[in-house]
Each structure stands twice: as structure tokens, then as C-alpha cells.
């Protein structure tokens, strides 16, 4: 098997924290199925899109867990289901020891103070009819924190914290660029001083030059405020740069999860290998010899996933057993989990 990502890239993250063994988020058997209904008035549930189909992972305090995979594999749904923006079909999500999937009403609202989300599209994530000051202070208003004056002060602080001029507080979103808007989104997420933030592709809609700024901002914030990130992305080199651990998703399941360097230097799952083989290497010699693993076919429909290992329709190394049953996610090396019959 080709192991392509062998170029010795310098990892920019200086002080990568090791797992402290203290999971802030524990996901067990998480499933999110979206029902497909048919019928005019009396709708019957005829099928379900299995967007997320059985996830088990932990996110440790202070780390950045990257979640990668192609479009439609359930990355964003995972992030939103953890935050209870979608309610899970089954499985559990515990946050700081508290079970979230059964929480409702005010208890859930209370928990939302500790977990926030940053969105992909900086143009859709800010209400065009609200001033920046109202957008950033909304979480405070919802939770009844502080007086109007306190909130204004906090807005100014937050704007400064994310590198924007507090002077802009009374302007409206359309007056800002994409990068500035994304910073506003970050400021809103920080308003309640959360400990965990889901970054749902926060940089993929931005220019490359702006991407670095936003990533650096996120890293600074993590360092200063001890944040934990679930970083959803499809830019593999960016994920390598900022994540401590990376989980690779395919069709609603995690196929491989490992420490960032381990995953990039020693990918075990054929899907991960194919993904990494698509990353260009900034070294002409290596790039010349880089062999791409081209996957055939398309992502199968998540409403009707293949029997057995759900990668078997495209897997270059599939064997009979792959068509019979689904491999489990097994820790093959310390901290390196793979779901593949050929590996285990």
C-alpha cells in the first residue's frame, strides 16, 4: 500500500497537549437518522437517511479533535447532534459528565452556555437585520446576563478579543468582509465563555490568506481560554496543522481515528489512504512520485448504505468478509483506532 504523506512537514503547532485522559465530551453509539416521509396528509415513514450511524469517540479537555470526510458523510450532523441542535435518534452524548440527549428546556439551555458553535458560512450565520452589537450580545440577553451597559462593555471586549475594532459595534453584517464576519461569529460563540466549541468548517468559505488569520485566532483563543474544539473540515493540511487528533468519517461512521501525526504518517484504513493521497505535497521531488489512489464511484446514498462495510463499494482492497459484516472500530495501535477487516 502506498503511504504517501511521508514528507516531513514541520508541524506548526508548538505545544501539542497530550490527552489528559479527561473526556469533556463522550459520544457513544450516536445515531442520527432523518426520516423520509411519503403520503399526502397521513405521512408514513418509508425510509431514513442515516446521516450519522453509530459513532463512539471522546473529546479530551483542551484538545482539538479534527473531523474530516467528504461532503455528505455526516460531519456537520455529528457536530450539531452533539450540541443537541439535532436530537439524536439513539446513543448518548455526555458533556462534562452530564447526559445531554435526555435534557430538555431550561436544563438544556443552561448547558448551552458551555458549548457553542462557529459556522461555515459567514454570510448566513449573522442575522442581516441585527447590528453587530445585538448579534454578539444575544447570548447574554437570552441568558439574562448583566445589564444593558454591562453587555455593551462585554461586546466591546469580545470585539477586541477577536481582533475587531469595537468602534464597529453599531454596524450591520453586510458592511463587513467574510473574514471579519467570521470573527464576529467567533465573538458571539465566546460571549458565554464556553469550554467547548464545535467549529463547523469555519475556514472553508474564506480566502486562503484570511484562513490563516482565523485559524491563528482560534488557536490563540484555545491557548488563552483553555477551549476544546471539535474542528470539522475537509482541508486535510489545515487539519494536520491545528488538530491534536483526527477522526476520518465515511458515510456516517468513523473509519479511522488517531493522533494527528500518526494518522498522517501511518494511515491504515484504505479510505484514509485515498484521502491523504489527494493532498498535494509542497516538495517537487515527493510530488513527482506521489501516487494517487483514485476511488471509483460515488458516495453511496446514506438512505441505503451497502451491506457489510459501507466502504466496500469503492474499496480497492475489499475481500469477501467486507461484504458480509461491518467492521468495528478497534484500537490497533495505542490511540490509533481503525474500522477495517483488512487491518484487524
Amino acid at each position: 500500500m502506498t503511504n504517501v504523506a511521508k514528507s516531513e512537514q514541520v508541524t506548526a503547532a508548538p505545544a501539542k497537549k497530550k490527552n489528559s485522559g479527561d473526556p469533556i465530551v463522550s459520544v457513544r453509539g450516536l445515531k442520527k437518522h432523518f426520516p423520509i416521509k411519503s403520503g399526502m396528509i397521513f405521512q408514513r415513514e418509508t425510509a431514513a437517511v442515516k446521516a450519522v450511524d453509530g459513532l463512539d469517540f471522546d473529546i479530551f479537555r483542551g484538545e482539538t479533535l479534527g473531523l474530516v470526510g467528504e461532503s455528505g458523510c455526516g460531519k456537520s450532523t455529528t457536530g450539531r447532534t452533539i450540541l443537541q441542535l439535532h436530537r439524536a435518534t439513539s446513543g448518548t452524548v455526555s458533556f462534562e459528565g452530564m447526559e445531554l440527549t435526555t435534557l430538555k428546556g431550561n436544563d438544556l439551555r443552561e448547558m448551552r452556555r458551555k458549548m457553542q458553535i462557529i459556522f461555515q458560512d459567514p454570510y448566513a450565520s449573522l442575522n442581516p437585520r441585527m447590528s453587530i452589537s445585538r448579534i454578539i450580545s444575544e447570548p447574554l440577553v437570552v441568558h439574562g446576563i448583566g445589564s444593558e451597559r454591562d453587555r455593551q462593555k462585554r461586546v466591546e471586549e469580545l470585539l477586541e478579543r477577536v481582533g475587531l475594532n469595537p468602534f464597529f459595534a453599531n454596524r450591520y453584517p453586510h458592511e463587513f468582509s467574510g473574514g471579519q464576519r467570521q470573527r464576529i461569529g467567533v465573538a458571539r460563540a465566546l460571549a458565554l465563555e464556553p469550554s467547548f466549541i464545535v467549529c463547523d468548517e469555519p475556514i472553508s468559505a474564506l480566502d486562503v490568506s484570511i484562513q490563516a488569520q482565523v485559524v491563528n485566532l482560534l488557536q490563540d483563543l484555545q491557548r488563552d481560554m483553555g477551549l476544546t474544539y471539535l474542528f470539522i473540515a475537509h482541508d486535510l493540511s489545515m487539519v494536520r496543522h491545528i488538530c491534536d487528533r483526527v477522526a476520518v468519517m465515511y458515510l456516517g461512521k468513523i473509519v479511522e481515528m488517531a493522533e494527528s501525526e500518526e494518522l498522517y504518517t501511518n494511515p491504515l484504513h484504505p479510505y484514509t489512504q485515498a484521502l491523504l493521497s489527494a493532498v498535494p505535497v509542497p516538495d517537487p521531488d515527493v510530488e513527482e512520485n506521489r501516487q494517487r489512489i483514485i476511488l471509483k464511484g460515488d458516495l453511496p446514498s446514506p438512505a441505503n448504505p451497502p451491506v457489510g462495510c459501507n466502504f466496500n463499494t469503492r474499496c480497492p482492497v475489499a475481500i469477501d468478509v467486507c461484504f458480509d459484516w461491518d467492521p468495528e472500530l478497534i484500537e490497533v495501535l495505542p490511540g490509533h483506532w481503525v474500522a477495517c477487516h483488512r487491518v484487524t
Binding site: 438544556l108 448551552r112 458560512d121 444575544e138 447570548p139 453599531n170 458571539r188
Partner: protein, 379 residues
């Protein structure tokens, strides 16, 4: 203002904060559309006329001058037909001998021919002068005044129709779109059902029904009598409002639902959920301000439809009650009393008013749409 590096109090940047607000931008954009501004002034003019119409009785009049009689008094012998319709611009005074004021309208030749009909030949300068700026109808009633009163009816229909439609449609559509699922499905199938019914036919049938009800229960007490009484005071408008409002909200409800569906999935709504905002906050703070623009535009553009519906119903005699001037009813009367051949002003005046007002609402709605749609907004 000083350099931006230090935190500056938010209060003292008034000039900055006024620079660009959604409303300010919309106003600026609206003012660029000249037709819309003209339309706005035309509508304002009609509203002003309608509101102040009853204050004008000193120079205008709904009733004919005293003594102005119908045409048969003029043409007793059937020798020559002389119509007592005042042409636009004619003035008359009440005569000393009350009852003969119309003689001022006649030419010398006509007076000579009917000496007995016109005993007072010289108008008394001490009497009040009545001027028919836009002529009169066959009863000697001022046509301009009736047109202005007609504007009251048309504008009332425009505003009540659009308010009822907006309110009902907005609530219905938002509930349907926001809660979605089965509720949405059932609510929208009901709307589809109503949509399939030909609206004008229903309105006509309802007006006929209301008319019969009000003549049958004319003197009854209780709620029915009360409603009939109000309707009578409004000149038949109440039932017209009910008939028009009953179906007008359907389009609005569909639009509101569609808007809610598209904004409900926007990430800023999800962000509000993520911080724990309740449904009420999401509806009123996040959805409503975003969807209200297109709905206002659609409602403004629907106003000509309401005005035409009222005019049409009044034209066929199912709108306002007799005695209440309305443009449709006036055009109908003009047709009966001579039409294009003898009394053109009677047709032209209410028709022109109808065309002007409906066109004005159309252009105003267009301007509003351009102003409220940020995508069309030039910098």
C-alpha cells in the same frame, strides 16, 4: 474621531452609527426610484383627500343645491330634451325662488323656450354660489365630491383588505412554516383547497347572501342586528371587507410559509438555538424582521386587486349600498345616465381616479421591493 486602536465609547459615534442602517439604506434606495416617489405622493394625495373630504362642504357638496331637480322638470313638453347635468366648470347659485337654481345652467335660448320652467332668470348674487369643478350627475350632485368620497371607499378597502390579508396570512403561514411536519402539511392542504376555489365567484355569492340576510333581519336585535347596523353605517363596506378578507390571505400565507422555511434553516437561526433562544425569540427577533419585507411588498402589489374587486362588485351592484358613492358604482351610474355620448365627465373622472390610484400602488410596491431587497441595492 480618533484612531481606532483604543476602545472608544459606543455612545459618541453617532455620526458613524447613522451611516448605514437597513432602514436608512432602504429609504435612500426608495428615493432613487422616481416613479415610486411620484406614486407615493399620489397615494398621499388621495389619502389626504379622503380624510379631509367631509371638511370641504363649504366649497363642495355631496347633495345638490336646493331646488336642483331631476330632468323631467326641464322637459315637460317633450319638445326638446335639456339635461341638467352640469359640465365641468359650471357654476350656479341658489335662486331667490328656491327650486330653480338649475336654470343658471341653461342657455339663453333654452330659457326662452321654457319660460315657465325658469321663473328666476337672474341668479341672486347674495346667494351662495355652487361650482361644479368636475361637473355633476343627473341629480345635480357634485361629481368631484362623489369621487373624493369614492376614494374613501377604495382606500378603506385597500387598507383593510391588505391588513387583514397580512395579519391572517402572516400568522397562518408562520405557524405552518415554523412548526413544519404534519401541522404544516395539514395547514397547507387546506390552503391548497381554498386556492382551488374561484375567489370572485365566492365573493359574489357571499355578497348576495349578506344582502338577503340584511334585508331579512333588518330589524332584528342581538348580534345579527348589531352587525347589520354597523354594515349599514359603513355603507355596506363591512360585508365587503369580510368577503374580500376571507380569501385574500391565502397567497400571503403561502409566501410567509415559504419565507419562514427558507430562513428557518439559516445558520443564524441555528446560532440562536445554540445559545438557547426560545421559539418566541426566534420567531419575533430572527424570522419576522427578515420575512416582513417581501410580505409588505406583495401586499402593496395586491392592493390594486382589492380596489378593482370592490369597484367591480359595486359596478355590478353587489358592493357598497346605494347612496354610498364608490368609483365602481359611479362608473356604473355614468353608463346608465348617458355614458360616453352625453356625459363623458361622469365616466372619465372616476375611471381616471381608479387608474391613477391602482397604478400608484403598483409603482409604490415596485419601489418598495427594490428598496427592501438588499440584493438589488446599489452602493
Amino acid at each position: 474621531m480618533t484612531a481606532a486602536s483604543k476602545p472608544i465609547s459606543l455612545k459618541d459615534d453617532g455620526a458613524e452609527s447613522k451611516r448605514s442602517t437597513p432602514l436608512g439604506d432602504a429609504l435612500r434606495q426608495f428615493r432613487r426610484n422616481r416613479m415610486a416617489v411620484v406614486a407615493f405622493f399620489i397615494i398621499s394625495f388621495f389619502i389626504f383627500m379622503a380624510i379631509t373630504s367631509s371638511l370641504w362642504t363649504s366649497i363642495s357638496f355631496l347633495d345638490a343645491p336646493k331646488g336642483f331637480k331631476a330632468r323631467h322638470t326641464i322637459n315637460p313638453a317633450g319638445l326638446e330634451r335639456v339635461d341638467p347635468y352640469a359640465e365641468p366648470g359650471h357654476c350656479a347659485r341658489d335662486g331667490l325662488d328656491q327650486g330653480k337654481a338649475w336654470c343658471a345652467l341653461l342657455t339663453e335660448e333654452q330659457r326662452a323656450r321654457f319660460p315657465n320652467s325658469c321663473r328666476v332668470e337672474i341668479p341672486d348674487p347674495n346667494q351662495r354660489q355652487w361650482c361644479y369643478i368636475l361637473g355633476s350627475d343627473g341629480g345635480g350632485k357634485d361629481w368631484l365630491t362623489q369621487t373624493v368620497y369614492g376614494a374613501q371607499v377604495s382606500l378603506a378597502v385597500a387598507f383593510v383588505g391588505s391588513s387583514v390579508s397580512l395579519l391572517l396570512g402572516l400568522v397562518y403561514g408562520m405557524v405552518s412554516g415554523f412548526y413544519g411536519g404534519r401541522i404544516d402539511n395539514v395547514m397547507m392542504r387546506f390552503v391548497d383547497f381554498l386556492y382551488g376555489i374561484p375567489g370572485l365567484v365566492i365573493i359574489i355569492i357571499m355578497q348576495v347572501y349578506f344582502r338577503e340576510i340584511s334585508s331579512k333581519y333588518q330589524d332584528s336585535s342581538g348580534l345579527v342586528g348589531f352587525i347589520i347596523e354597523i354594515n349599514k353605517d359603513l355603507g355596506g363596506l363591512l360585508f365587503l371587507f369580510i368577503a374580500l378578507g376571507l380569501l385574500s390571505w391565502i397567497g400571503t400565507a403561502r409566501l410567509a410559509r415559504g419565507q419562514v422555511l427558507s430562513y428557518r434553516e439559516k445558520e443564524f437561526v441555528e446560532a440562536a438555538r445554540a445559545v438557547g433562544a426560545r421559539d418566541r425569540r426566534i420567531i419575533f427577533v430572527h424570522l419576522l424582521p427578515n420575512i416582513i419585507g417581501p410580505l409588505l411588498v406583495a401586499e402593496t402589489l395586491a392592493i390594486p386587486g382589492y380596489i378593482f374587486a370592490e369597484a367591480f362588485l359595486s359596478y355590478i351592484g353587489l358592493g357598497v349600498q346605494p347612496g354610498t358613492p364608490s368609483w365602481g358604482e359611479m362608473i356604473s351610474r355614468a353608463g346608465q345616465e348617458g355614458g360616453f355620448f352625453s356625459n363623458r365627465h361622469m365616466i372619465y373622472v372616476p375611471s381616471a381616479a381608479l387608474v391613477m390610484l391602482t397604478l400608484a400602488f403598483n409603482f409604490f410596491g415596485d419601489g418598495l421591493r427594490d428598496a427592501l431587497d438588499p440584493r438589488l441595492r446599489g452602493r
